[in-house]
């Protein structure tokens, strides 16, 4: 199954205003959004929970999403009736498990529009995927004095691996700046590009500001000077999807648990010829061609990068989550989430003393905010007593927080199952916070 994907940039070329108008048109003609959020909610058992006597308003999908019953049942069934180790035994169950695992790779490949499933490497999570590149690609293709460009709004997962590489081999890290609204500054980025630039590693969507970066243009500019590109798609793939052939980056990393799949699995997609030039990251079983004590030869990608027993059932769960999401339609989800983002933004803006951090033109449904005189941590605790779950803190993006002079924000991040009730519950709970703080 392949969904037809139109990126948000294409739909709304003139940014925020254009997008609002477009949305209103869509809403009026409501044939274009066919989205039954109640039916979707019914698929997610966690949404029935009562927290501290209130219905759960789960607004932390950016940290990790809840799972639909289809994923849970599929994994349960695979553990009960289809389980054995993969790529090993010559017996029926092992073959079944291997088929499931490799079919999952196919599903992921289709979802990203990869040329071949061999380009899809299963990892432990998104962080591991980036570390794999930093280690294996970084130590092979980069030299002291080469430059890596990252943006000012990276998650620590796309900062620290490059710092480790810097400390190991002496590459330099340059920071592409952003403006006060959280927009990626294309002009400034272009100024940083130079013959020393060998790699650009940026996020697809900021996990704090919600900004959707112009990744296609970033790839184009980077390629112009011969640099490679890694996109951290942990947030982006959920709200914007990806067509890796159209994007043309060298690497795209994402994590399963934010895409309504299980934790414990991530994906590194990479261009096949490049992957096959990279040395293994970890050594062990399954990744070798031939082992003697003198010399070992390695298999091609993806096996080369999947040492040891892989996340077998997690892969099955991830594939089921992808089927679920594509069944609803990634574009339908994005349209709906954008509508809800507008609703949430408008209602939060009405709260006196509330300031939204991140007003980029092109945004995924992530809203970071501050409330006058109240620390995010206090907000988190108090609204939890009303059943509302948001993230409070630095969101693993300290350099970004420093950029805005913040120590912590509260963040509401929306998923495909949120509705206006969740937003209303958040607004009421925030008014309760204000009550307490007087």
């Amino acid at each position: 199954m392949r969904t037809i994907k139109v990126s948000l940039e294409k739909r709304f070329p003139n940014g925020w205003i254009d997008r609002m108008t477009a949305l209103n048109t869509v809403l009026k003609s409501d044939t274009e959004i066919d989205y039954n959020v109640s039916a979707i909610r019914a698929d997610f058992p966690a949404l029935d929970l009562k927290i501290n006597g209130h219905p759960l308003a789960f607004l932390d999908s950016g940290a990790s999403a809840q799972k639909p019953v289809q994923v849970l049942d599929r994994m349960d069934h695979a553990y009960r009736s289809e389980y054995a180790n993969v790529h090993r035994g010559a017996y029926t169950l092992s073959q079944l498990a291997t088929d499931n695992y490799e079919n999952a790779r196919m599903t992921v490949a289709n979802f990203m529009n990869a040329k071949t499933p061999d380009e899809v490497i299963f990892t432990r999570n998104g962080t591991a995927a980036i570390n794999l590149v930093a280690y294996s690609y970084g130590r092979t293709f980069l030299r002291a004095g080469d430059e890596i460009i990252i943006s000012h709004m990276e998650h620590h997962a796309n900062i620290v691996p490059w710092q480790l590489l810097r400390d190991a081999i002496g590459v330099e890290i340059k920071i592409a700046p952003i403006d006060d609204h959280g927009n990626f500054l294309m002009d400034e980025f272009e100024k940083l590009l130079c013959p020393k630039t060998k790699l650009v590693a940026v996020t697809h969507v900021s996990n704090v500001l919600g900004t959707i970066l112009p990744i296609k243009e970033i790839v184009r500019q980077a390629h112009n000077i011969g640099a490679h590109v890694l996109i951290d798609g942990c947030q982006g793939i959920v709200h914007d999807g990806v067509d890796v052939q159209d994007l043309d980056a060298e690497f795209y990393a994402f994590t399963g648990h934010k895409l309504y799949g299980p934790s414990g699995i991530g994906v590194l997609w990479g261009k096949l010829d490049l992957l096959n030039k990279m040395p293994p990251y970890e050594g062990g079983g399954d990744m070798i061609e031939n082992v003697t004590f003198e010399k070992t030869t390695y298999r091609e990608a993806p096996a080369r990068f999947e040492a040891g027993t892989p996340p077998i059932i997690e892969a099955v769960g991830l594939a089921t989550a992808i089927d679920y999401v594509t069944g609803v339609g990634l574009e339908n989800i994005a349209n709906y989430e954008t509508k809800l983002l507008t609703y949430a933004t408008n209602h939060l803006a009405e709260i006196d003393g509330l300031r939204i951090i991140g007003r980029a033109d092109n945004k995924a449904p992530i809203i970071s905010f501050e409330l006058d005189g109240v620390h995010a941590h206090d907000i988190g605790t108090i609204i939890d007593s009303k059943g509302v779950a948001v993230r409070a803190g630095h969101h693993c993006a300290q350099p970004l927080m420093d950029r805005y002079g913040l120590v912590a924000t509260a963040r509401a991040s929306l998923g495909m199952y949120n509705n206006t009730d969740d937003i209303d519950q958040l607004v009421d709970a925030l008014n309760y916070v204000k009550d307490i703080f007087g």
Partner: protein, 154 residues
């Protein structure tokens, strides 16, 4: 739950949180330490002037944090001034237990007034994730007077 919230965010705490006492950087401090709560981004620096006989002559702090951590630092700096380092250690031990909801043995009479004040912070025992907010300042002063530069409370 809402009662627990009201108990945690009592007037006294909100007042200390908004108008912290001893929020300054004394020039004559003899030691200082940074306290960092990496999970939520609370950052405090505690300054202490320790005089003869290990007597704390002045205590102050700077930094940013949630209402609980700031209120705790504010109350702490008031309470420890005029005490000996060893007394502060003993008081911290009792306070720590209070915050975690653990049984506290007989408390020395000389601490009675202080503990009466500190008890407002013990509302955190209903919120395990917030215990470290209430104890961050104490961990930090402990580091300062015992010659460590920084602590991280987790």
């Amino acid at each position: 739950m809402e009662d627990d919230i009201r108990e945690l965010y009592q007037e006294v705490i909100l007042d200390h949180g908004k108008n912290p006492r001893n929020f300054r950087h004394p020039e004559d401090a003899t030691c200082e330490a940074n306290g960092n709560n990496p999970l939520c981004g609370d950052k405090l620096t505690v300054f202490v002037k320790v005089g003869v006989d290990q007597n704390i002559e002045d205590a102050a702090f700077e930094g940013r944090g949630c209402a609980i951590s700031v209120a705790s630092a504010s109350m702490m700096t008031d309470i420890v001034t005029g005490k000996k380092v060893a007394e502060v250690d003993a008081l911290f031990e009792i306070f720590h237990k209070m915050c975690k909801g653990e049984e506290v043995d007989e408390t020395p009479e000389k601490f009675e007034d202080d503990l009466d004040k500190l008890v407002v912070l013990s509302g955190v025992k209903q919120f395990p994730m917030r215990v470290k907010c209430a104890t961050l300042a104490w961990h930090t002063i402990n580091a300062a007077v015992h010659g460590e530069k920084a602590v991280s409370s987790e």
